[in-house]
Symmetry: C2
Subunit: 421 residues, 2 copies
């Protein structure tokens, strides 16, 4: 227990030596909606930036209401993606509202949006306009397709990025139909790329004094996740094919999920033997008591095992079936064989160690009370931010307009009265 | 053509206004292998950092040889992950070799490794040792499991991260077995998180003057990709289930890949209607000439459509089957319906627009000649790096040791003779 406590306090020193997280002092004007863009500003908030989420006074950002189970109550979806942000309302179609937004931008370091193609220009908030009023601004955009792609004007959501970026063509059973991975690679995966661009631009600004424009398209970012499929294409001279749970290169075995005792939908353990040597394979044979196969010529190389994958499965599967997934993982892990139980979302979110390490945190939401959600997985010894629940719509309007723009109570009341905020 | 050229030159001004890419001047000592770590230093190189890849004099990094089709020739896998890096050789088990490494670290900004658990400490290159000799160092590590996880000592590769981080539990057909997505989320997905930590630490160092330690575990990073599954878990009160191509929230339809004319393995188009309104659904009905369903009470809400997904499929599928995937995407995209053809790796890598925009680039490799590979998908108006092929083993040893450590030809010859480099 003490050991874990000490390690955790070393990793997350609640402010570290400096007391300030990495992006303390960085102000982000956040016009994002749904997930691709909101995942970026969530990461920036968790690195210590002051993220000001700008929302429509009527109903707020679309993700608040979409997919909620109770009308008028923020969706879990929204709560997962908007922690540690401040919410202000602005009516961007009102002239004074638009002026408020421009004033915020004058006092900001980063601006980001992921509206449908052309929308931000129609709002009069293009890169050209905003960089002219604040040359230090880092202006970031996420779209489905690049502005100079033939598909530039097309709408896109997560799955459209996954389809057009090659992800679905390499996911699924051999000979089966294309399949969408469950995780939202098109959204959060593109968002991670955009976050990298923004951070690099902030670093570059330290020497140039200037901001710049960052553009990331979902289709393009998806290709970066599929790189190894291009190694497979080069190896085999044809498009990379779906191959179930085998690695796309097809150059080793075992590389499969095997059913374990219990028979539940996720009672499986993935077992892998690296293509770099026979070491893991030999260790596996020792654990399962089948050392006679160490000298079998069929299995003498990684490629040889891949060529005899059914024989491999026939040796490994019967042993795995005798044990729970946790036991299989433990016995193989202890012996130095790469093995991973297929954990489901409930098992993970209730795991004591993941809770202790803030991979899952409990926040207090103004409508729903205690809420368990994934936290930030990047552990930095000198930057830590306590995770706080997503804000109510406009919760920080008065605070932000006073603090950032110097407005008084009277100004704010007037702006509200005329529907500008 | 001119339009595309102009757009491309605006996005990638070959050095931009400043002439220097974002991370010019940042030196990275790169002890990474395979993909999780190499994907980080690849991103840093493409942002302009000077990445010095430190390899074993005998055979180099394991990824060079693993999965190659021709012994002695660098694998495509390695070539995809090590572009724009400089390669030096160091024998870390030789005393003078280890001293060379420490001298490099004294002159570096970032150090990164993804060896098996405990290996870097056994080499005498722990965070404590290196940060003591260079307090400005950002020291980054990627492991399968956190150092304070019960699985801390276990080996992990991409698929182990995907299994234990929940990815496989939400990927696959409804009622089917857990499936590994084709893309290497455990590797490149964790690498993106680590890259964010490194960049944030470099930015923080501008104000603190100090480096810090960054640790990312594959299992933890995978959870961040599955966030929406935790919204589904909260909605339904049970672990998120696999659901084929439907969105995990299960709150709208269509949200499916439909077979197109042609019948090939990837002749499919994904069609989606957002859960935020009925707008896409109505537009879809107009395009396919079935406007009578606009007023059908079964389909009056996103949730209603999700509850009648088979009826939706029966309306949409026959129309899609009449057209090629490109035509389906074009007709629906033009009408404002989210739709994405399932492109395969060959279609993408041969796409003229993706080539023009440097999403795929051709590099000249010292052994294999012209090689097409994915480029960097983040477009920055003021930072651009020309993509160059991965280096030969030790190609830059003399250059780096002269330039960074001030060694002469005689020194280098001696070090080689005694097997230190």
């Amino acid at each position: 227990m003490n050991k874990i406590d000490n390690a955790a306090s070393m990793l997350n020193p609640q402010g570290g030596m400096s007391g300030a997280p990495a992006l303390r002092g960085v102000r982000v004007i956040d016009l994002t909606q749904f997930e691709a863009g909101t995942s970026v500003t969530l990461a920036l908030a968790w690195l210590g930036a002051d993220v000001i989420k700008v929302e429509n006074p009527v109903g707020g950002e679309q993700g608040r209401g979409a997919s909620t189970d109770k009308p008028g109550m923020d969706s879990y979806y929204f709560m997962l993606l908007n922690a540690n942000k401040r919410s202000v309302t602005v009516n961007l179609k009102n002239e004074r509202g638009r002026k408020i937004l421009l004033d915020l931008v004058r006092n900001a370091d980063v601006f980001i949006e992921n509206f449908a193609p052309g929308a931000i220009e129609r709002l009069g908030l293009s890169y050209e306009v905003l960089s002219a009023i604040n040359p230090r601004l880092v202006y970031a955009q996420i779209k489905g397709f690049a502005s100079d792609s033939p598909f530039a004007s097309y709408l896109a959501f997560d799955m459209i990025g996954q389809a057009t970026g090659g992800i679905m063509s390499i996911t699924g059973e051999a000979g089966g139909r294309p399949l969408k991975p469950g995780p939202t690679l098109g959204d959060t995966g593109t968002g991670l790329h955009c976050t990298i661009g923004i951070l690099a631009a902030l670093y570059q600004r330290e020497s140039t004094g200037r901001g710049q424009r960052i553009q990331v398209a979902m289709q393009d970012a998806m290709i970066n996740f599929c790189r190894i499929a291009y190694a497979a294409q080069s190896l085999h001279g044809k498009a990379c094919e779906r191959n179930g749970n085998q690695v796309v290169l097809g150059t080793t075995a075992p590389s499969e999920v095997y059913p374990c005792k219990g028979g539940g939908p996720n009672d499986y353990c993935y077992i892998y033997s690296s293509r770099a040597s026979n070491m893991h394979w030999h260790r596996l044979l020792e654990v399962i008591g089948r050392e006679e196969f160490k000298t079998d010529p069929r299995f003498a190389t990684p490629q040889g095992r891949a060529d005899h994958v059914k024989d491999i499965d026939a040796i490994v599967a019967p042993w795995v079936a005798l044990h729970s997934k946790e036991d299989v993982m433990r016995m193989l892990g202890d012996a130095g064989v790469p093995a991973g139980a297929v954990f489901d979302t409930m098992e993970l979110s209730e795991d004591a160690n993941l809770r202790e390490r803030e991979i899952f945190v409990t926040v207090k939401h103004h409508q729903r009370g205690d809420f368990v959600m994934p936290g930030w997985p990047v552990k930095m010894s000198d930057s830590h931010v306590k995770i706080e629940a997503s804000p109510a719509l406009g919760e920080h309007s008065a605070e932000v307009y006073r603090e950032v723009l110097g407005l008084g109570e009277q100004d704010i009341a007037e702006l509200r009265a005329e529907g500008a905020i």
